[in-house]
Symmetry: C2
Subunit: 301 residues, 2 copies
């Protein structure tokens, strides 16, 4: 039997209401999810690494204006786009993360470079932007990140001095033929967020975690709760210290999240290629490819 | 028997070499540690909260130019001081954290306000500074943070294009008469660090964590490794899922840190007032007050 491969992706949870989505729009979302999933699957099938697969899948989602990451990022309270991303290698436990990235097309690439080309794990703001420019990552003007839907949403939130409940984030977790796990997450945060607000996505342990001994996890939801629950690492600890299955560890973690009123979900894969995608919001954009070659693309339950 | 109280503080690990410290200097450090510890003990004895106790202890350490936090913060690669801090309430699992704070005397107060007065957990850079100014926290000019020793150290590092191995950070963990645990950490980071580098101190789960069901933890050391090991939350998970003592959980966490070449230590207290202060560096500035009223102030083993 060949070594199993598996990959799961998500593109956020929370603002999806079944009654407001038309079949045509749903199809469009599913098409984008498929494209991102296939980018990862293709690499894994060629023997590529889980790190490359999660990077590739997240880049497709970042390039799509439908999702709140990269191009489709929401507007913050000052009308800018501040993006966060993180990646972790389950083989080496190395990680890279950035917060407050501006005018860079693919924040996940910056996180990857922080992991591979710096002595640091986590870079913020202008320092992270400088690092990205030094490594000649693709920049884009502000209007590249403009989407009418996000702009109107921001204007409404500004009038009400409200922050969004946009649980938009994209992420991917994968297992490659060498048995290596990896996780990646990228987000524009929440609409009208305070300048400088950091959610769970770039926080290693909260929104992103990978360890070959247990699992790879990427979260999406009300970031503050995921930070307080150290959600991603909790899945891993539960598996390692309670010696339970990925399924059980994910269920327990969702319960912990609910104890702090967390809303959203997560995707996770273990070293056997088992995939879990629990969520407590009405929907979660998600897709996965199992070791047996079957594929699943869903938005609602 | 009255309800037990306990508090432990640290003021960094790493650059302390026994052969280079004179008895007079050692006495000066111990005096500062005693003052910080007593600030916390005093509050706890009056029935004050563990949150107030860790805040008070950390503020004394932030105000002391000897330690790398607040006033004594190191210089970053641009010659500025960028400070990080975090606090967590073990009763509510609420948390507040800031990174890249500038010209504010007590970053731990900003973290506390983020926890108590915002919908967020983690704020970065100018956004965090704006938030601090809006809440009228004490500001200080750049020269308040000038210390000759740190400046010379920075100039040397600049010449060698090296980053420091300054494992300086301050922190406190406490148990109050209501059985509530709290943890707080504050740091200036590492000398000549890249602009925007975030260490483990403000990362909930990595450098700071508290949960009444398990323990409160504050770490000091090579931050990147503590992030990758999700060190503080690992102590808590080990206790919760393996049902072992605080001592055992701390030992196991130090082993995990060593697996990723982490250097430094941590302080931890549980709901019974047990205190652990393990480290793998030559020394760690530390002090603690036990439920039986005994006090310990140490630098080396």
């Amino acid at each position: 039997m060949p070594a199993p491969i598996a990959i799961a992706i998500h593109a956020g949870a929370g603002t999806i209401l079944r009654k407001r989505i038309t079949p045509a729009v749903q199809q469009q979302y599913e098409q984008e999810l498929r494209q991102a999933l296939e980018a990862g699957v293709h690499l894994l099938q060629q023997g590529g690494s889980s790190l490359d697969a999660v990077t590739a899948a997240v880049m497709v989602l970042e390039d799509c204006p439908l999702f709140n990451a990269g191009r489709g990022s929401v507007f913050n309270s000052k009308g800018h786009h501040e993006m966060d991303a993180a990646i972790m290698d389950g083989h080496t436990l190395k990680a890279g993360a950035v917060t407050g990235i501006q005018r860079i097309k693919n924040p996940i690439q910056v996180a990857r470079l922080v992991m591979e080309k710096s002595h640091f794990v986590f870079l913020a703001g202008e320092g992270a932007n400088e690092f990205a420019r030094e490594h000649q990552l693709s920049e884009a003007p502000d209007n590249y990140f403009y989407t009418e839907y996000r702009y109107k949403d921001w204007q409404r939130k500004q009038q009400n001095a409200a922050t969004g409940k946009h649980l938009g984030t994209v992420g991917a977790v994968a297992l490659d033929t060498n048995g290596n796990l990896a996780a990646a997450t990228s987000t524009g945060g929440i609409t009208n967020k305070a300048y400088g607000r950091i959610g769970d996505s770039p926080v290693i342990g909260a929104g992103t975690y990978a360890n070959n001994n247990t699992c790879a996890v990427s979260c999406t939801g009300t970031g503050e709760h995921f930070i307080r629950a150290v959600a991603a690492y909790n899945v891993s600890c539960y598996m390692e210290y309670k010696e339970v299955s990925l399924h059980e560890a994910c269920e327990q973690t969702m319960q912990k999240l609910e104890m702090v009123q967390g809303e959203g979900g997560l995707i996770a894969v273990d070293a056997y290629g088992n995939i879990e995608m629990p969520f407590n919001s009405e929907g979660m954009y998600r897709a996965c490819y199992h070791p047996d070659g079957t594929m699943d693309i869903r938005i609602f339950r």
